[in-house]
Amino acid sequence: MLIIFATPPFYSKYVHLPSDKVSQRIHENPKFWPFFKDAIGALDGSHIHATPPALERAAYRDCKGLVSQNCLFVCDFDMNFTYALTGWEGSATDAQVFKDTCAKDLHISDSKYFLADAGYPSRRGLLIPYRGIRYHLAEWGQASIR
């Protein structure tokens, strides 16, 4: 049953990378348009609980002390998954998983990119925030007043 869902053609029919068209949500929001016109989705990793055999448990121990597998997901701006890579040990870092993804089957076309967080390396196809800089100073100030 799992294999039916997790392999083509069912998997590839519903989970596939987005086309290069600009997302409606980016287009509608004046804060995002035209700055993020080349963004085709967001990319991040998540830990999902796992129960490996005792011998391998050490490798599956993650930074929060749980036993888990590290999964990398990509979604578009309409809350649909467009890519998933699962099964990495919980001790693997996000950047490691991403490297593996690139080696396998995540092909990002030139000039397009995903939004990712600071855990990922800066390289072609990934847009990460500036390191060590506080964002939205004005907005934060207002938030504390509220």
């Binding site: 799992l2 294999i3 869902f5 997790a6 519903y14 989970v15 980016i26 804060k31 995002f32 035209p34 700055f35 993020f36 963004a39 967001a42 991040d44 998540s46 999902i48 609980h49 796992a50 129960t51 490996p52 391998e56 930074c63 929060k64 036993v67 597998q69 999964c71 997901f73 990509v74 979604c75 701006f77 809350m79 649909n80 998954f81 998933a84 699962t86 099964g87 870092t93 996000d94 950047a95 490691q96 490297k99 990119y113 939004l115 990712a116 967080d117 600071a118 855990g119 990922y120 390396p121 800066s122 390289r123 072609r124 990934l126 847009l127 990460i128 500036y130 800089i133 100073l137 004005a138």
Partner: protein, 139 residues
């Protein structure tokens, strides 16, 4: 803001499919396929049953909240990182110009001079800071 969509979608997925939290004792091959399967089913549901909606009671359980501290990647940067840095800087500059425009328009539109002066001064001060930051990154 645009990036938090992926954090939200994790919450939705884990909330919708409790199997992801309870970690059944199958062998590892099968366990690795579970999240992939759930992604597929999630997308399937979103496409064919919009009534169900992308957010089944979007409330986040305490143990689901993704409050992880971001670990800075300890990986050498490679493959034309400069290109992405340039892009990043360009986007930041474009946004800054637009923000300045908005500020000056606001200043024109409003009669209250004092407030606007404060705003503009604040803006200029921040601009200098940002330039410094960018220099630091480019260096």
């Amino acid at each position: 803001m645009a990036r938090n969509i992926i954090k939200r979608i994790f919450g939705v997925l884990k909330h919708r499919f409790r199997i992801l939290i309870h970690a059944p004792r199958y062998n590892l091959q099968i366990q690795a396929q579970i999240p992939t399967t759930m992604c597929t089913i999630h997308t399937f549901i979103c496409l064919h049953d919009p009534q169900e909606g992308p957010l089944p009671d979007a409330g986040s359980d305490g143990d689901l909240a993704e409050d992880e501290e971001e670990v800075v990647a300890a990986v050498d940067e490679e493959e034309a990182p400069n290109e992405m840095k340039h892009l990043c800087n360009r986007i930041a500059e474009d946004m800054w110009t637009q923000y300045q425009q908005v500020l000056s328009e606001r200043a024109l539109a409003s009669n209250d001079d004092v407030d606007n002066k404060d705003l503009l001064e604040f803006g200029n001060g921040e601009s200098a800071d940002e330039d410094e930051d960018m220099d630091g990154i480019n260096a």
